[in-house]
Amino acid sequence: MNKRFPRFYYSPPFSTVNGRVTIDYEIENGGISSPSFCFDNERFNESDSFCKNEYLKNIPLVSRLSFLENHTCEELYSSAIEELNKIDVPEIAKYYRTLILELSRIAGFFLNIYNISSALKFEVARMWSLADRERIQQLIFKVKGNEYFAPYIVPGGVRCAVLSKNMKFIEEEILLIETKLNDYDKLLFQNEFFRMRTAGVGTVTKKEIADYGITGPVARAANVSFDVRKKLPYEIYGNFKTNPHFYSHSDVYDRLLCRRNEISDSIEMLKFIFANIPYEKHFANLDMYEHGQLTVKAGVALKRAEGVNGEFICMLESDGSSKPSNIKFRSPMYHLAGDFIKNLINNTSIDDIDLVLSSLFLIPMEMHI
């Protein structure tokens, strides 16, 4: 029997797209064998491009580092500068920061539900999750009062306050989404077809998680309860206590269930914010900004935050001048993705390849191979 060597495109199959993931594989008995992972990305050296600019002019660049985790990047960059300058952020700014970080987390998880529903051709769940993601994006617009990629978290605080009428609107919408989660349960998690297609598919073991340094919902679905928000609380995350969830199989089903449970946890955090947000007139400490410059004292800061996909790290090194001497972001994308995905999809059914990759929530632009 002749062997076939098809190619699977994870990103759009256009040569102009930066960050293309393709997998060449052989088919044997309806399963995938000897996959070879190809990654085509013109990765620019972030540190070089950031070091050419002043600290202030880097702020809009940081917001555009990731389409999914732009607020996490802003949070890391701003908190690193605040640590070096020993600046206290107003309490209300911490609430606003947590608000936008949790909103973008929920939006990210709805995008993952969309990805998995698309892979399964579950049209209703696909359209619902996309609509709900759009709904969350509208709330983010209400908070920022600006474009999605415009910076909101800035060194010293946040860029603008949220009007009380907008806050009420956000609260109503979030309560609506909380009620809709029950419908998602009926549509996906209590659906026998969904369970049959996802249970036991793409299992990631605890050893693999340790070997490849995986964090976030993929690790938590394998009962590795590491969460930067709990271990090293930043902003107002120290005030929250959420019950840990336990999962039994670490497969695609558990990964999506983990994300669904984390949407509930995020909604609980948002409710805390709505109930306890203080009233302060100043939402940013602008002592650092003088004569069109942002000055940062010499030193090294290493900040960690829990992004949508896991632990996001930023290292900032300053020599006291107006430009950073070294800056590096480490995204939670799988840093040994080639090897990890090769092992994961080897011997899986050809129908499941899209499903398994969707459950990992790959963002090709953030990956290092």
Binding site: I59, P60, N146, E147, P151, V154, C160, V162, N166
Partner: protein, 97 residues
């Protein structure tokens, strides 16, 4: 034929949605971040906003400054302005009274 019929139907629906949003007074500029305005009465001509602008969108006109269409609304100018003369219109950036 059935497929073409469905396509036409969906296109008509799109048209309907577009019309509905127009009739509701949907302001696209507000969704896209509004318009950056510099208040001439408050501007002290210090030039900090010109220095900080990443896209070189701010230029001096007479005693004040103006923002052109290449602005990406990063609002660094608002952050840096010592006279508090720069703000976004049609958004919630103004402080609550």
């Amino acid at each position: 034929m059935i497929k073409i019929g469905r396509l036409l139907e969906s296109l008509l629906q799109l048209k309907y949605i577009a019309r509905e949003s127009e009739s509701k007074g949907y302001d696209e500029s507000a969704e896209n971040g509004g318009i950056v305005e510099i208040e001439a009465s408050k501007c002290t001509n210090c030039g900090d906003c010109v220095k900080v602008c990443y896209t070189l969108s701010i230029r001096q006109v007479g005693d004040s400054h103006k923002v052109d269409d290449s602005c990406i609304r990063c609002m660094l100018c608002e952050l840096i302005c010592p006279a508090n003369a720069i703000h976004l219109q049609n958004t919630n950036s103004e402080t609550e009274e």
